[in-house]
Protein backbone atom coordinates (compact mmCIF):
# COMPACT_ATOMS: atom_id res chain seq x y z
CA UNK A 1 0.00 0.00 0.00
CA UNK A 2 1.37 3.38 -0.92
CA UNK A 3 -0.86 5.45 1.36
CA UNK A 4 -2.21 4.83 4.82
CA UNK A 5 -5.65 3.36 5.25
CA UNK A 6 -7.80 4.51 8.16
CA UNK A 7 -10.78 2.43 9.26
CA UNK A 8 -13.80 3.59 11.21
CA UNK A 9 -16.86 1.72 12.46
CA UNK A 10 -19.96 2.88 10.59
CA UNK A 11 -22.42 4.71 12.84
CA UNK A 12 -25.24 3.05 10.90
CA UNK A 13 -24.63 -0.47 12.13
CA UNK A 14 -25.72 -2.20 15.31
CA UNK A 15 -23.06 -4.23 17.04
CA UNK A 16 -22.36 -6.09 20.25
CA UNK A 17 -19.63 -8.33 21.55
CA UNK A 18 -20.76 -11.87 22.35
CA UNK A 19 -18.00 -13.90 23.95
CA UNK A 20 -14.93 -13.43 21.77
CA UNK A 21 -16.92 -12.51 18.66
CA UNK A 22 -18.76 -9.41 17.55
CA UNK A 23 -22.27 -9.56 16.11
CA UNK A 24 -22.99 -6.85 13.59
CA UNK A 25 -26.30 -5.95 11.99
CA UNK A 26 -25.79 -4.09 8.75
CA UNK A 27 -27.60 -0.78 8.54
CA UNK A 28 -27.97 -1.25 4.79
CA UNK A 29 -30.02 -4.41 4.68
CA UNK A 30 -30.33 -5.82 8.22
CA UNK A 31 -27.96 -8.67 7.39
CA UNK A 32 -26.33 -10.21 10.45
CA UNK A 33 -22.59 -10.78 10.46
CA UNK A 34 -20.19 -12.16 13.04
CA UNK A 35 -16.54 -11.30 13.26
CA UNK A 36 -14.01 -13.84 14.48
CA UNK A 37 -11.39 -13.10 17.09
CA UNK A 38 -8.89 -11.38 14.77
CA UNK A 39 -11.54 -9.40 12.90
CA UNK A 40 -12.98 -8.37 16.27
CA UNK A 41 -9.61 -6.91 17.25
CA UNK A 42 -9.58 -4.79 14.09
CA UNK A 43 -13.23 -3.78 14.63
CA UNK A 44 -12.54 -2.65 18.18
CA UNK A 45 -9.55 -0.61 17.11
CA UNK A 46 -11.35 0.97 14.15
CA UNK A 47 -11.98 4.42 15.56
CA UNK A 48 -10.77 6.20 12.44
CA UNK A 49 -7.67 7.62 14.08
CA UNK A 50 -5.16 4.78 13.70
CA UNK A 51 -3.88 3.54 10.33
CA UNK A 52 -4.67 -0.10 9.57
CA UNK A 53 -0.99 -1.03 9.37
CA UNK A 54 -0.51 0.28 12.90
CA UNK A 55 -3.46 -1.79 14.11
CA UNK A 56 -1.97 -4.84 12.45
CA UNK A 57 1.44 -4.18 14.01
CA UNK A 58 0.26 -3.41 17.51
CA UNK A 59 -2.78 -5.65 17.84
CA UNK A 60 -2.35 -8.57 15.43
CA UNK A 61 1.37 -9.20 15.00
CA UNK A 62 1.95 -8.55 18.68
CA UNK A 63 -0.55 -11.24 19.68
CA UNK A 64 -0.41 -13.82 16.92
CA UNK A 65 2.45 -15.61 15.21
CA UNK A 66 1.89 -14.22 11.75
CA UNK A 67 4.07 -12.66 9.10
CA UNK A 68 3.47 -8.91 8.90
CA UNK A 69 2.99 -8.67 5.12
CA UNK A 70 0.51 -11.53 5.12
CA UNK A 71 -1.37 -10.12 8.11
CA UNK A 72 -1.63 -6.69 6.48
CA UNK A 73 -2.86 -8.23 3.24
CA UNK A 74 -5.51 -10.26 5.06
CA UNK A 75 -6.55 -7.26 7.16
CA UNK A 76 -6.85 -5.06 4.07
CA UNK A 77 -9.00 -7.64 2.35
CA UNK A 78 -11.15 -7.95 5.46
CA UNK A 79 -11.77 -4.22 5.92
CA UNK A 80 -12.51 -3.78 2.23
CA UNK A 81 -15.07 -6.59 2.45
CA UNK A 82 -16.66 -5.06 5.53
CA UNK A 83 -16.69 -1.64 3.88
CA UNK A 84 -18.58 -3.20 0.98
CA UNK A 85 -21.32 -4.17 3.42
CA UNK A 86 -21.38 -0.68 4.93
CA UNK A 87 -19.94 -1.94 8.22
CA UNK A 88 -16.66 -0.03 8.10
CA UNK A 89 -15.78 3.30 6.55
CA UNK A 90 -12.38 3.60 4.86
CA UNK A 91 -10.38 6.74 4.40
CA UNK A 92 -6.89 7.83 3.47
CA UNK A 93 -7.08 10.51 6.17
CA UNK A 94 -7.64 10.11 9.89
CA UNK A 95 -11.22 10.74 10.99
CA UNK A 96 -11.75 13.50 13.53
CA UNK A 97 -14.00 11.97 16.14
CA UNK A 98 -16.76 14.13 17.61
CA UNK A 99 -17.54 13.77 21.30
CA UNK A 100 -20.13 11.04 21.52
CA UNK A 101 -21.14 8.19 23.81
CA UNK A 102 -20.50 5.70 21.01
CA UNK A 103 -19.10 2.44 22.21
CA UNK A 104 -19.97 0.48 19.12
CA UNK A 105 -19.99 -3.14 20.04
CA UNK A 106 -17.40 -2.81 22.75
Amino acid sequence: MSCKLYVERSPRVAARKLGDEVMIMSGLDSTLFTLDEVATIIWEAADGSIPLEEIVDSKICAQFEVERGEALLDATELVQGLAGHGILLLSSEPVIMPNSPRKAGQ
Binding site: R16, G19, M23, M25, P101
Partner: protein
Protein backbone atom coordinates in the same frame (compact mmCIF):
# COMPACT_ATOMS: atom_id res chain seq x y z
CA UNK B 1 -34.64 -17.34 12.03
CA UNK B 2 -31.43 -17.52 10.00
CA UNK B 3 -28.78 -20.12 10.78
CA UNK B 4 -26.40 -17.45 12.02
CA UNK B 5 -29.08 -15.95 14.24
CA UNK B 6 -29.80 -19.40 15.71
CA UNK B 7 -26.11 -19.85 16.34
CA UNK B 8 -25.86 -16.48 18.07
CA UNK B 9 -28.97 -17.20 20.15
CA UNK B 10 -27.52 -20.53 21.24
CA UNK B 11 -24.27 -18.81 22.18
CA UNK B 12 -26.12 -16.09 24.09
CA UNK B 13 -28.05 -18.78 25.96
CA UNK B 14 -24.84 -20.58 26.83
CA UNK B 15 -23.18 -17.36 28.01
CA UNK B 16 -26.28 -16.10 29.86
CA UNK B 17 -26.54 -12.99 27.70
CA UNK B 18 -29.87 -11.15 27.28
CA UNK B 19 -29.69 -10.74 23.53
CA UNK B 20 -33.10 -9.02 23.21
CA UNK B 21 -34.80 -6.58 25.54
CA UNK B 22 -38.03 -4.65 25.16
CA UNK B 23 -38.47 -1.41 27.04
CA UNK B 24 -41.90 0.13 27.19
CA UNK B 25 -41.05 3.83 27.43
CA UNK B 26 -44.56 4.78 28.52
CA UNK B 27 -47.96 3.22 29.01
CA UNK B 28 -49.61 6.51 28.00
CA UNK B 29 -51.28 6.34 24.62
CA UNK B 30 -53.17 8.54 22.19
CA UNK B 31 -55.38 5.63 21.19
CA UNK B 32 -57.73 3.61 23.35
CA UNK B 33 -57.74 0.25 21.64
CA UNK B 34 -60.51 -2.04 22.83
CA UNK B 35 -58.14 -4.99 23.24
CA UNK B 36 -55.27 -3.19 25.01
CA UNK B 37 -53.89 -4.78 28.19
CA UNK B 38 -52.36 -1.62 29.65
CA UNK B 39 -53.35 0.95 32.26
CA UNK B 40 -52.65 4.20 30.41
CA UNK B 41 -52.25 6.43 33.47
CA UNK B 42 -48.71 7.54 34.26
CA UNK B 43 -47.68 6.04 37.61
CA UNK B 44 -44.19 7.51 37.58
CA UNK B 45 -42.29 6.74 34.40
CA UNK B 46 -38.51 6.53 34.39
CA UNK B 47 -36.85 9.86 33.68
CA UNK B 48 -34.63 10.49 30.67
CA UNK B 49 -31.55 10.05 32.85
CA UNK B 50 -32.86 6.78 34.30
CA UNK B 51 -33.54 5.40 30.84
CA UNK B 52 -30.11 6.44 29.56
CA UNK B 53 -28.54 4.78 32.58
CA UNK B 54 -30.56 1.62 31.87
CA UNK B 55 -29.50 1.66 28.22
CA UNK B 56 -25.85 1.81 29.27
CA UNK B 57 -26.40 -1.18 31.56
CA UNK B 58 -28.18 -3.11 28.82
CA UNK B 59 -25.31 -2.48 26.39
CA UNK B 60 -22.82 -3.67 29.02
CA UNK B 61 -24.93 -6.77 29.61
CA UNK B 62 -24.65 -7.64 25.91
CA UNK B 63 -28.10 -6.66 24.63
CA UNK B 64 -28.07 -6.20 20.84
CA UNK B 65 -31.75 -6.14 19.92
CA UNK B 66 -33.65 -3.35 21.65
CA UNK B 67 -37.37 -2.88 21.11
CA UNK B 68 -38.81 0.46 22.18
CA UNK B 69 -42.54 0.20 22.66
CA UNK B 70 -45.41 1.44 24.76
CA UNK B 71 -48.07 2.87 25.06
CA UNK B 72 -47.24 5.31 22.34
CA UNK B 73 -43.50 5.97 22.30
CA UNK B 74 -43.81 9.35 20.58
CA UNK B 75 -45.81 10.72 23.50
CA UNK B 76 -42.53 10.95 25.37
CA UNK B 77 -41.07 14.38 24.69
CA UNK B 78 -37.60 12.88 25.08
CA UNK B 79 -38.25 10.07 22.62
CA UNK B 80 -35.70 11.18 20.04
CA UNK B 81 -33.13 11.91 22.73
CA UNK B 82 -33.57 8.33 24.00
CA UNK B 83 -33.46 6.90 20.49
CA UNK B 84 -30.34 8.85 19.62
CA UNK B 85 -28.65 7.63 22.79
CA UNK B 86 -29.66 4.04 22.10
CA UNK B 87 -28.22 4.19 18.60
CA UNK B 88 -25.03 5.77 19.87
CA UNK B 89 -24.70 2.67 22.04
CA UNK B 90 -25.01 0.59 18.84
CA UNK B 91 -28.26 -1.21 19.67
CA UNK B 92 -30.25 -2.70 16.82
CA UNK B 93 -33.39 -0.67 17.53
CA UNK B 94 -36.87 -1.80 16.61
CA UNK B 95 -39.81 0.52 17.25
CA UNK B 96 -43.47 -0.24 17.88
CA UNK B 97 -45.90 2.61 17.41
CA UNK B 98 -49.36 3.49 16.18
CA UNK B 99 -47.45 6.11 14.14
CA UNK B 100 -50.18 8.72 14.20
CA UNK B 101 -47.67 11.32 15.41
CA UNK B 102 -45.20 10.48 12.64
CA UNK B 103 -45.12 12.97 9.78
CA UNK B 104 -42.41 13.58 7.19
CA UNK B 105 -39.95 15.21 9.61
CA UNK B 106 -40.25 12.48 12.25
CA UNK B 107 -39.82 9.80 9.58
CA UNK B 108 -36.69 11.53 8.33
CA UNK B 109 -35.30 11.73 11.84
CA UNK B 110 -36.00 8.04 12.48
CA UNK B 111 -34.22 7.20 9.25
CA UNK B 112 -31.23 9.33 10.13
CA UNK B 113 -30.81 7.28 13.30
CA UNK B 114 -30.65 4.00 11.36
CA UNK B 115 -33.53 2.28 13.11
CA UNK B 116 -33.85 -1.35 12.06
CA UNK B 117 -37.63 -1.42 11.69
CA UNK B 118 -40.85 0.15 12.84
CA UNK B 119 -43.97 -1.87 13.53
CA UNK B 120 -47.27 -0.08 13.06
CA UNK B 121 -50.63 -1.47 14.21
CA UNK B 122 -53.30 -1.57 11.52
CA UNK B 123 -56.49 -3.45 12.43
CA UNK B 124 -58.51 -3.05 9.25
CA UNK B 125 -58.40 -1.49 5.82
CA UNK B 126 -61.80 0.03 6.64
CA UNK B 127 -61.69 3.28 8.65
CA UNK B 128 -64.98 2.48 10.36
CA UNK B 129 -63.52 -0.75 11.75
CA UNK B 130 -59.95 0.40 12.54
CA UNK B 131 -61.09 3.68 14.12
CA UNK B 132 -63.74 1.88 16.17
CA UNK B 133 -61.03 -0.40 17.59
CA UNK B 134 -58.63 2.49 18.38
CA UNK B 135 -61.53 4.77 19.40
CA UNK B 136 -59.78 7.62 17.55
CA UNK B 137 -61.58 8.98 14.48
CA UNK B 138 -59.19 9.42 11.57
CA UNK B 139 -56.54 7.17 13.10
CA UNK B 140 -56.37 4.76 10.16
CA UNK B 141 -55.67 7.59 7.73
CA UNK B 142 -53.00 9.05 9.97
CA UNK B 143 -51.30 5.70 10.51
CA UNK B 144 -51.33 4.93 6.78
CA UNK B 145 -49.99 8.40 5.95
CA UNK B 146 -47.20 7.76 8.46
CA UNK B 147 -46.33 4.44 6.84
CA UNK B 148 -46.00 6.26 3.52
CA UNK B 149 -43.68 8.85 5.12
CA UNK B 150 -41.59 6.04 6.61
CA UNK B 151 -41.42 4.17 3.31
CA UNK B 152 -40.34 7.32 1.47
CA UNK B 153 -37.35 7.27 3.81
CA UNK B 154 -36.62 3.67 2.87
CA UNK B 155 -37.41 2.31 6.32
CA UNK B 156 -38.51 -1.23 7.00
CA UNK B 157 -42.15 -1.10 8.15
CA UNK B 158 -44.09 -4.00 9.58
CA UNK B 159 -47.87 -3.77 9.60
CA UNK B 160 -49.12 -5.59 12.70
CA UNK B 161 -52.71 -6.74 12.69
CA UNK B 162 -54.30 -8.10 15.84
CA UNK B 163 -57.08 -10.51 15.03
CA UNK B 164 -60.26 -10.12 17.06
CA UNK B 165 -63.97 -10.48 16.60
CA UNK B 166 -64.32 -6.93 15.27
CA UNK B 167 -61.96 -7.47 12.32
CA UNK B 168 -61.88 -11.21 11.69
CA UNK B 169 -62.74 -10.88 8.01
CA UNK B 170 -60.36 -8.03 7.27
CA UNK B 171 -56.88 -9.49 7.59
CA UNK B 172 -56.52 -10.48 3.90
CA UNK B 173 -57.25 -6.88 2.90
CA UNK B 174 -54.87 -5.49 5.53
CA UNK B 175 -52.24 -7.85 4.20
CA UNK B 176 -52.86 -6.65 0.64
CA UNK B 177 -52.70 -3.05 1.85
CA UNK B 178 -49.35 -3.74 3.53
CA UNK B 179 -48.00 -5.21 0.30
CA UNK B 180 -49.22 -2.17 -1.62
CA UNK B 181 -47.40 0.09 0.87
CA UNK B 182 -44.22 -1.97 0.61
CA UNK B 183 -44.53 -3.10 4.22
CA UNK B 184 -44.23 -6.53 5.79
CA UNK B 185 -47.27 -8.03 7.47
CA UNK B 186 -47.74 -9.89 10.72
CA UNK B 187 -50.95 -11.28 12.12
CA UNK B 188 -51.32 -11.75 15.85
CA UNK B 189 -54.49 -13.36 17.19
CA UNK B 190 -53.29 -13.13 20.80
CA UNK B 191 -55.44 -10.97 23.03
CA UNK B 192 -53.46 -10.69 26.25
CA UNK B 193 -55.18 -10.39 29.64
CA UNK B 194 -54.75 -6.98 31.24
CA UNK B 195 -51.63 -6.53 33.32
CA UNK B 196 -53.76 -6.23 36.46
CA UNK B 197 -55.11 -9.73 35.81
CA UNK B 198 -58.47 -8.62 34.36
CA UNK B 199 -59.33 -11.22 31.72
CA UNK B 200 -62.52 -9.55 30.48
CA UNK B 201 -60.93 -8.42 27.20
CA UNK B 202 -60.41 -12.05 26.22
CA UNK B 203 -64.05 -12.01 25.12
CA UNK B 204 -62.75 -10.20 22.00
CA UNK B 205 -60.88 -13.30 20.86
CA UNK B 206 -61.86 -14.74 17.53
CA UNK B 207 -64.09 -17.79 17.56
CA UNK B 208 -62.79 -21.30 17.01
CA UNK B 209 -64.24 -21.58 13.54
CA UNK B 210 -62.57 -18.34 12.44
CA UNK B 211 -59.22 -19.49 13.78
CA UNK B 212 -59.57 -22.81 12.01
CA UNK B 213 -60.02 -20.83 8.81
CA UNK B 214 -56.88 -18.76 9.47
CA UNK B 215 -54.91 -21.95 10.12
CA UNK B 216 -56.03 -23.30 6.79
CA UNK B 217 -55.21 -20.15 4.79
CA UNK B 218 -52.44 -21.48 2.59
CA UNK B 219 -51.29 -18.01 1.58
CA UNK B 220 -50.62 -17.26 5.24
CA UNK B 221 -49.27 -20.46 6.76
CA UNK B 222 -47.82 -22.30 3.78
CA UNK B 223 -48.28 -26.05 3.75
CA UNK B 224 -51.65 -26.59 5.47
CA UNK B 225 -51.27 -30.34 5.84
CA UNK B 226 -47.90 -29.96 7.51
CA UNK B 227 -48.99 -27.04 9.68
CA UNK B 228 -52.14 -28.75 10.91
CA UNK B 229 -50.69 -32.20 11.52
CA UNK B 230 -49.99 -33.59 14.98
CA UNK B 231 -46.35 -33.32 16.04
CA UNK B 232 -44.22 -36.44 16.43
CA UNK B 233 -44.25 -38.10 19.83
CA UNK B 234 -41.90 -36.33 22.22
CA UNK B 235 -38.67 -38.12 23.11
CA UNK B 236 -36.35 -37.50 26.05
CA UNK B 237 -34.40 -34.82 24.18
CA UNK B 238 -37.58 -32.96 23.24
CA UNK B 239 -38.60 -32.84 26.88
CA UNK B 240 -35.29 -31.22 27.81
CA UNK B 241 -36.17 -28.19 25.66
CA UNK B 242 -36.86 -24.75 27.08
CA UNK B 243 -40.44 -23.48 26.95
CA UNK B 244 -39.37 -20.19 25.29
CA UNK B 245 -36.64 -17.53 25.31
CA UNK B 246 -38.28 -15.34 27.99
CA UNK B 247 -35.85 -14.93 30.87
CA UNK B 248 -33.18 -16.91 29.01
CA UNK B 249 -32.05 -14.57 26.23
CA UNK B 250 -34.94 -12.10 26.33
CA UNK B 251 -36.29 -9.72 28.91
CA UNK B 252 -38.70 -6.80 29.41
CA UNK B 253 -38.54 -3.53 31.35
CA UNK B 254 -41.67 -1.48 32.09
CA UNK B 255 -41.85 2.35 32.09
CA UNK B 256 -41.54 2.15 35.89
CA UNK B 257 -38.35 0.09 35.79
CA UNK B 258 -39.97 -3.24 36.61
CA UNK B 259 -38.18 -6.19 35.05
CA UNK B 260 -40.19 -9.17 33.78
CA UNK B 261 -39.11 -12.17 31.69
CA UNK B 262 -41.29 -10.86 28.83
CA UNK B 263 -43.93 -8.22 28.19
CA UNK B 264 -46.45 -11.06 28.19
CA UNK B 265 -45.00 -12.67 31.34
CA UNK B 266 -45.46 -10.15 34.19
CA UNK B 267 -43.53 -12.11 36.82
CA UNK B 268 -41.91 -9.49 39.09
CA UNK B 269 -38.17 -10.07 38.85
CA UNK B 270 -36.72 -6.80 40.14
CA UNK B 271 -36.68 -3.06 39.51
CA UNK B 272 -33.87 -1.16 37.84
CA UNK B 273 -34.50 1.83 40.11
CA UNK B 274 -33.31 -0.25 43.05
CA UNK B 275 -30.96 -2.80 41.46
CA UNK B 276 -28.77 -2.66 38.37
CA UNK B 277 -30.23 -4.54 35.43
CA UNK B 278 -27.28 -6.90 35.18
CA UNK B 279 -27.66 -7.91 38.83
CA UNK B 280 -31.36 -8.59 38.34
CA UNK B 281 -30.59 -10.57 35.20
CA UNK B 282 -27.97 -12.68 36.93
CA UNK B 283 -29.33 -13.05 40.43
CA UNK B 284 -33.11 -12.67 40.47
CA UNK B 285 -34.73 -15.71 42.10
CA UNK B 286 -37.75 -15.25 39.83
CA UNK B 287 -35.64 -15.41 36.67
CA UNK B 288 -33.68 -18.36 38.06
CA UNK B 289 -36.94 -20.19 38.59
CA UNK B 290 -38.06 -19.45 35.03
CA UNK B 291 -34.70 -20.70 33.73
CA UNK B 292 -34.96 -23.95 35.67
CA UNK B 293 -38.09 -25.07 33.84
CA UNK B 294 -37.90 -27.60 31.02
CA UNK B 295 -40.81 -29.11 29.10
CA UNK B 296 -40.49 -32.25 31.24
CA UNK B 297 -41.30 -30.13 34.32
CA UNK B 298 -44.73 -29.12 33.06
CA UNK B 299 -47.10 -31.47 34.88
CA UNK B 300 -49.92 -31.45 32.34
CA UNK B 301 -48.19 -30.39 29.13
CA UNK B 302 -45.24 -32.83 29.29
CA UNK B 303 -47.65 -35.70 28.71
CA UNK B 304 -49.73 -33.93 26.08
CA UNK B 305 -49.85 -35.06 22.46
CA UNK B 306 -49.13 -31.47 21.42
CA UNK B 307 -46.08 -30.86 23.64
CA UNK B 308 -43.52 -30.51 20.85
CA UNK B 309 -45.75 -28.58 18.46
CA UNK B 310 -47.64 -26.36 20.88
CA UNK B 311 -46.91 -22.64 21.10
CA UNK B 312 -47.61 -22.68 24.84
CA UNK B 313 -46.76 -19.28 26.31
CA UNK B 314 -45.40 -19.50 29.86
CA UNK B 315 -46.54 -15.92 30.42
CA UNK B 316 -50.13 -16.68 29.54
CA UNK B 317 -49.89 -19.77 31.76
CA UNK B 318 -48.53 -17.57 34.56
CA UNK B 319 -51.43 -15.16 34.11
CA UNK B 320 -53.74 -18.15 34.45
CA UNK B 321 -52.11 -18.85 37.81
CA UNK B 322 -49.23 -21.27 37.20
CA UNK B 323 -46.14 -20.72 35.05
CA UNK B 324 -45.71 -24.51 34.83
CA UNK B 325 -49.34 -25.01 33.86
CA UNK B 326 -51.00 -25.07 30.49
CA UNK B 327 -52.23 -21.95 28.77
CA UNK B 328 -55.82 -22.65 27.81
CA UNK B 329 -55.54 -20.19 24.94
CA UNK B 330 -52.72 -22.21 23.41
CA UNK B 331 -54.57 -25.47 24.07
CA UNK B 332 -57.46 -24.10 22.07
CA UNK B 333 -55.09 -23.00 19.36
CA UNK B 334 -53.60 -26.50 19.12
CA UNK B 335 -57.14 -27.85 18.93
CA UNK B 336 -58.08 -25.41 16.17
CA UNK B 337 -54.99 -26.43 14.23
CA UNK B 338 -55.20 -30.20 14.53
CA UNK B 339 -58.73 -31.04 15.70
CA UNK B 340 -57.20 -33.05 18.57
CA UNK B 341 -57.91 -31.79 22.11
CA UNK B 342 -54.94 -31.19 24.41
CA UNK B 343 -54.34 -33.06 27.67
CA UNK B 344 -55.53 -29.97 29.50
CA UNK B 345 -58.78 -29.80 27.56
CA UNK B 346 -59.34 -33.51 28.06
CA UNK B 347 -58.64 -33.31 31.77
CA UNK B 348 -61.12 -30.54 32.16
CA UNK B 349 -63.56 -32.71 30.19
CA UNK B 350 -65.10 -29.49 29.09
CA UNK B 351 -66.33 -28.65 25.66
CA UNK B 352 -63.98 -26.35 23.76
CA UNK B 353 -64.95 -22.80 24.40
CA UNK B 354 -65.85 -20.39 21.67
CA UNK B 355 -62.78 -18.34 22.44
CA UNK B 356 -59.32 -19.09 21.14
CA UNK B 357 -55.95 -17.46 20.90
CA UNK B 358 -52.85 -18.11 18.96
CA UNK B 359 -49.45 -16.64 19.52
CA UNK B 360 -47.46 -14.16 17.57
CA UNK B 361 -47.10 -14.89 13.92
CA UNK B 362 -43.84 -14.17 12.25
CA UNK B 363 -43.48 -11.52 9.61
CA UNK B 364 -44.06 -12.17 5.93
CA UNK B 365 -47.49 -13.56 6.70
CA UNK B 366 -46.46 -16.93 8.03
CA UNK B 367 -47.19 -18.47 11.37
CA UNK B 368 -44.20 -19.26 13.52
Amino acid sequence: MSGLMQEMSAKALQLGVPLSVQIDLTYRCNERCVHCYLDHDDHGEMSTAEIKNLLGDLASAGVLFLTLSGGEILLRKDFFEILEYARALAFCVKLKSNAILIRASEAERIRSLSVDSIQVSIYSHRPEVHDAITKVPGSLKRSLDAIRFLKVQGLKVIVADVLMQQNTQDYPSVRALAAELGAEFTLDPTITPKMDGDRSILRLNVRQVALQKVFRDESLIGNVEEFCSLPAKADEEDLEALPCSAGHTACYVSPYGDVYPCVQFPLPSGNVRRTRFVDIWRHSDALKEVRSIRLRDLPTCSGCTHVTGCTRCPGLAYMEGNMRGPSIQDCEKSFARTGIPSANLLSKAAPVQGLVQIQTLSSCGTIS
